[in-house]
């Protein structure tokens, strides 16, 4: 696969322009048709605007840094992060939020996808309706639901009142606010999970179901023994994508509660923004590093575990 096969040794024009390529293996690859400088434009943009700040964050996280001065203080920011209850709460909320939304999107996404591939009436229309919120501005959705969830005048509580239920203060009750935002995030993101599952389901050959039916498997057994195992690649994608999204989420929280009431719905990303606004740049960066490590510690083992299971099958 390495060398173009159809190339006749002598006739291929080898332009001597491969000075970058030549550094690798001058004799073999002089003037490769795929020179390394092709990565330069993307590499430069990615290196300057993403990689360099990410690496720099490991230094800045160890400093007391504000508008006027910067001073190395070792791990004090991290110590403070784990000592301050409201900062800690951000960390706990992040984990809680990501696991709830990810689990709900996975389960609901699969169920809706199974429903929308079973040949029911208006299937295509339903797919579009479920998917559309994925494309809508998160801030728009956040502001919209903030009004719908208004404790006394919001449409949700008015509807509940009409059937005799006293609706709670969705966003004003500190023990409920995070879960209300999580519900909206599920509402917004379940369409993507459904879409991914529909793509996954379409790759399962009907033969499996036929064989299972012949063996006398019930609908329920077919779902657990055929659908769930065979749709695993889609499950991997949904779980990992929604976990990453949930751990990093900022805009929806900010539009709906700004971390409030108090600090009850703060997540790491909103803590990072608040500390930045307050001028604690070092502490904010430490929050960023914690988020970075948290995502790495969760996603990498999970991806490895999913892949291993896949090989085993």
């Amino acid at each position: 696969m390495n060398l173009p096969t159809g190339r006749q040794a002598g006739s291929a024009p080898s332009h001597g322009r491969g000075s970058t390529a030549a550094t690798q293996a001058p004799a073999k690859r002089r003037g490769s048709p795929y020179p390394y400088w092709f990565v330069l434009p993307a590499g430069a943009i990615f290196g300057i605007f993403f990689l360099a700040p990410t690496l720099a964050s490991f230094y800045f996280a160890l400093t007391a840094w504000d508008l006027f001065s910067i001073r190395f203080i070792g791990f004090d920011n991290f110590v403070q992060f784990f000592r301050e209850p409201f900062l800690m709460q951000g960390l706990v909320n992040t984990l809680l939020f990501a696991s709830i939304t990810s689990a709900a999107k996975t389960v609901l996404g699969l169920l809706i996808a199974v429903l929308l591939t079973s040949g029911i009436f208006a299937q295509g229309l339903l797919r579009s309706i479920v998917f559309f919120p994925v494309l809508v501005s998160t801030i728009g959705i956040g502001l919209m639901f903030a009004e719908l969830m208004h404790p006394t005048e919001g449409a949700i509580n008015l509807a509940l009142a009409a059937i005799g239920i006293d609706g709670p203060g969705w966003l004003t009750n500190p023990s409920l606010a995070l879960f209300s935002v999580a519900m909206v995030d599920i509402w917004r993101g379940v369409g993507l999970a459904t879409l991914i599952y529909i793509a996954g389901l379409s790759t399962i050959a009907q033969d499996y179901y036929e064989a299972a039916r012949i063996d006398g498997a019930t609908r329920w057994q077919q779902f657990w023994r055929v659908t769930v195992p065979l749709v695993r690649p889609a499950t991997t994608t949904v779980v990992i994508l929604s976990l990453i999204g949930g751990l990093r989420l900022f805009d929806l929280i900010w539009a709906m509660t700004r971390g409030g009431p108090g600090f009850s719905s703060d997540v790491l990303a909103s803590v990072i923004y608040k500390q930045y606004q307050a001028g604690f740049y070092g502490l904010s960066t430490a929050g960023n590093v914690i988020l970075f490590l948290l995502i790495g510690l969760i996603i990498l083992p999970l991806a490895w575990w999913f892949n291993r299971k896949e090989v085993e099958q």
């Binding site: 728009g140 005048e153 930045y276």
Partner: protein, 274 residues
């Protein structure tokens, strides 16, 4: 179609309507009301339709800030995507065509770009050092850098379906490597390029977090930021806030209607392979 399937379909449609469509209808109705009427947040038919007046009023608010925001958002989106498409396709092409130990490292960076949350404060510091903080140019580069991982993965997968014979034929005809790429390969990548453009334009247009950090200031406002700023300004004029939400929802709706297939292809690209 069996009767049962009609029944389940109709039932699902009713549920989907209540859960997913009614919130948007609520926004639409309130966007057409007077300020006093929309303040009660009722889910009701407007007593007096003021749709057009509200639209004009939102567009004119704060010296036509919304128009400036649409302009800025468009410039950022177009600029970032142009950079992303060309530079991302080049990397995807190299990754797919030339198998070397370096590929693993490049691939690692691509995945890192997809997973790692950007370090915001150090990025602001860096942008200040090179004079791009609070500038549209800086925002274009930032959005390009954040979208490259996704772009490279899509291109790499698609280029695998283009036979190498094409490159070789061009080389034998005396084409230089960049000519092979720009004149032979890039035109063939049109289907996946459309997917990249559609998915990324929605992502960048809808992005709120990064403009909030890197583009403070009224002259650089983007569409999502207007919505956020208007929230505090329109507190007594809910009708205008809802109109603003509606105006921000329209571009993705249009894109969705025309490019449904490409969006689905782009967003499910990881599903089958994992």
């Amino acid at each position: 179609m069996k009767r049962r399937q009609y029944l389940i379909g109709a039932l699902s449609l009713a549920v989907a309507f209540v859960v997913f469509v009614i919130p948007f209808i609520f926004v639409f109705l309130n966007a057409a009301k007077t300020a006093a009427e929309s303040a009660t947040l009722d889910f009701s038919w407007p007593r007096e339709w003021r749709f057009w007046q509200n639209l004009v009023e939102v567009v004119q608010a704060r010296d036509y800030m919304l128009l400036l925001a649409y302009f800025n958002s468009t410039v950022i989106t177009v600029g970032a995507i142009a950079l992303m498409v060309v530079s991302g396709a080049m990397v995807g092409y190299l990754l797919q065509r030339r198998r070397t130990p370096w590929n693993r490292i490049i691939y690692g960076f691509v995945l890192a770009g997809l997973i790692i949350p950007p370090a915001v404060v150090p990025t602001i510091w860096l942008l200040q050092q090179i004079g791009l903080f609070k500038s549209i140019t800086g925002m274009i580069f930032i959005q390009c850098a954040y979208g490259l991982g996704f772009t490279v993965l899509l291109y790499r997968a698609f280029i695998a379906t283009i036979p190498r014979d094409l490159d070789e034929a061009a080389i034998i005809d005396g084409a230089k490597p960049w000519q092979v790429f720009f004149k032979v390969i890039l035109p063939l990548l049109k289907p996946v390029t459309v997917t990249v453009i559609v998915v990324q334009s929605i992502t960048i247009f809808n992005d709120f977090t990064h403009p909030l950090y890197y583009l403070p200031g009224a002259e650089n406002v983007t569409v999502q930021l207007t919505l956020y700023n208007f929230q505090s300004q329109f507190v007594s004029q809910m009708n205008l806030l809802f109109m603003n939400i509606l105006l921000v929802t329209v571009p993705p709706l249009i894109v969705f209607v025309f490019f449904n297939r490409q969006i689905v292809a782009g967003m499910t690209s990881g599903a089958v392979k994992g």
